[in-house]
Amino acid sequence: MNGAQDMGGVHGFGPVEAEPDEPVFHADWERRAFALTLAMGMPGGWNIDMSRYARENRDPAEYLSMSYYQIWFAALETMLKERALVAEDEIAAGHALHERKPVTRVLSTDDVLKVLHRGGPTERATNTKPAFKVGDRVRAKTIHPLTHTRLPRYVRGHAGVIERAIGCHVFPDSNAQGAGENPQWLYTVRFAGRELWGADSDPSVQVSVDAWEPYLEPI
């Protein structure tokens, strides 16, 4: 979706301001919101692409006015309510009011380090052959899906070069919609800065994105 999350090339946000000696969390609720989000992945049964979509799928004005962990927390609420694991009246009351819906598994302390260490690799075996090889010239398609995608607007329609063939990976555009992993070949595609930002831009700049094959067309 062409939401506020797709920020590459947007003007007006001002300089980058780094905070000296920044703490990992800035408030206790950030710690809890972070941990709840990670822990609920197991009983909640959603995947990382569904989480990202739940975060970005909101009014751009709202997205831009929320802090990072506020967005995380809002997305967690959305996903819990969509699955009827929690209802708004329960959050308002601060207590469970409705019958517990069964879940497959809850994250225990014994699981934590194992689950984190395992992570969620996205590479998948395939019988298909990649359509592109390193050095091929490609164009990022002009697409505007209403649903989750990982092709940023600033590269759409632009020509680049395949720099690296990464392997076959879970396709977020499908996975976010619950339409299956639908693994696709993934490539690092390099663009000249001037191709993206025009003849007046810095000639020493090159930018790459990692793009799945359905995002690309041959030139």
Binding site: Q5, G9, V16, G120, I166
Partner: protein, 205 residues
Amino acid sequence: MSGHDHHHDHDHSELSETQLRVRALETVLTEKGYVDPAALDLLIETYEKKVGPRNGARVVAKAWADPAYRARLFKDATPAITELGFAGRQGEHIVALENTAKRHNMVVCTLCSCYPWPVLGLPPVWYKSAPYRSRAVADPRGVLADFGVSLPKDTDIRVWDSTAEIRYLVIPMRPAGTETWSEEKLAELVTRDSMIGTGLAKNPK
């Protein structure tokens, strides 16, 4: 403003709406048995106290000091980093990027906040912020200037937008005058920002 707002009992902490809502949700999820509060504490402790940029600094220092390790790291970073015990969530597929006098690499996630957790920990606020995400791809030298970094005009700037599950770790240039240094001492020169590409390694004193 009326004086009303000042009449709160200061023995009570003034909780924000978000704070209250997070607390309420945690209570509901705990009562329903969906989360174990001890597991939440362990998740927090892990990312607040254990996993952080000192992990990445060890990888960089070893890459500087040990040519065989360096070769393994640039060939396939994920197993090379696992050798040092760092692996897992948000670091399942890591690629190491070599900064040289001719080429400076810089990493961003314009769409969200993708970042190599096992080696750098959780990202700082600026990395997730609109100013960085919007400008890193369009004006990387301007962003570097925000960090007080100025590179020669003929240095190529290569920006990596982390749009998939590949996570990038920049290996900064080794400072001159450190040829005899141990890995432990070298690691002290490696800053978090130098591994994102918004900074350089520290010079030896």
